[in-house]
Subunit: 154 residues, 2 copies
């Protein structure tokens, strides 16, 4: 019996190796992270962009709830832990190079939904003006604040 | 007259400073890059994820066509230069931290549209199976190849 066939028998060790396998297929960056895009189910709006480490992705898959890795705080960030703006996860996609993750989520906690810490629906609320050929470019906020951030983060 | 008010006068130098201003508002990474998400106009599908440096973003805005920075080739990548799968850019969004860009694009060159080098519509064609509570996770390709990559890249 080869080492390989031993590994595929149903020992607890083999089971744990298999469970981690899907995570190890991801091309993790040198910092142990992958970029993650969160897209809203239904509207298909891109809500936000963040990062995950292995543990964050494992938790996300197990809980069906978005768990990111906060680079500024250097720890797991259970999205909504302070704001209540939890993201339920319906689908987890991986790109062709195995190095970017796309989540399909329901953004909970407020109606209309708020994903951004500024109290806006989406983090991508700044739009480049001037693409109409005027060539005078500049950023403009084009989405309203739905809730005062001070009342979100007490 | 303060140096600041001199800068805002309409000299060629001041004009060029102003034109670059919107690019300098972006929080460029230590490697001089920002992550970029491309989303399709109409379907709102997330097509791909790539990177830009300042020059790539400047070209993208000026040409109204997606120009990325290829990290593997370390040079500008005019999306579609080989494949013909050019992306027309309708909107450029910036997130709340000024460090992620979202493009709204029309994916040209094939119908139905192909953004991925594998010949698929979107790069995010691998879906994590097992989120239904079975906890036996694994990636599965869930989108068809629309065109043989060998015939795309001659």
């Amino acid at each position: 019996m080869s080492p390989k066939s031993t590994q595929s028998s149903a020992t607890p060790l083999a089971a744990s190796v298999k469970a981690l396998d899907w995570i190890d297929q991801i091309q993790w960056g040198a910092d142990g992270l992958v970029p993650v895009i969160a897209q809203e189910l239904g509207t298909k709006d891109v809500l936000m962009f963040a990062w995950m480490n292995k543990q964050a992705l494992q938790k996300t898959a197990e809980l069906g709830r978005a768990v990111y890795f906060s680079r500024s705080r250097q720890k797991l960030w259970f999205k909504g832990e302070e704001s209540g703006h939890v993201q339920r996860v319906h689908d987890i996609r991986l790109d062709c190079d195995n190095d970017v993750v796309l989540l399909c989520v329901t953004q909970e906690g407020h109606d209309p939904s708020i994903a951004c810490h500024t109290g806006r629906h989406s983090c991508f609320y700044q739009s480049l003006q001037g693409l109409d050929g005027k060539k005078e470019f500049g950023w403009a906020s084009v989405e309203p604040v739905l809730k005062d951030p001070e009342s979100i983060y007490k």
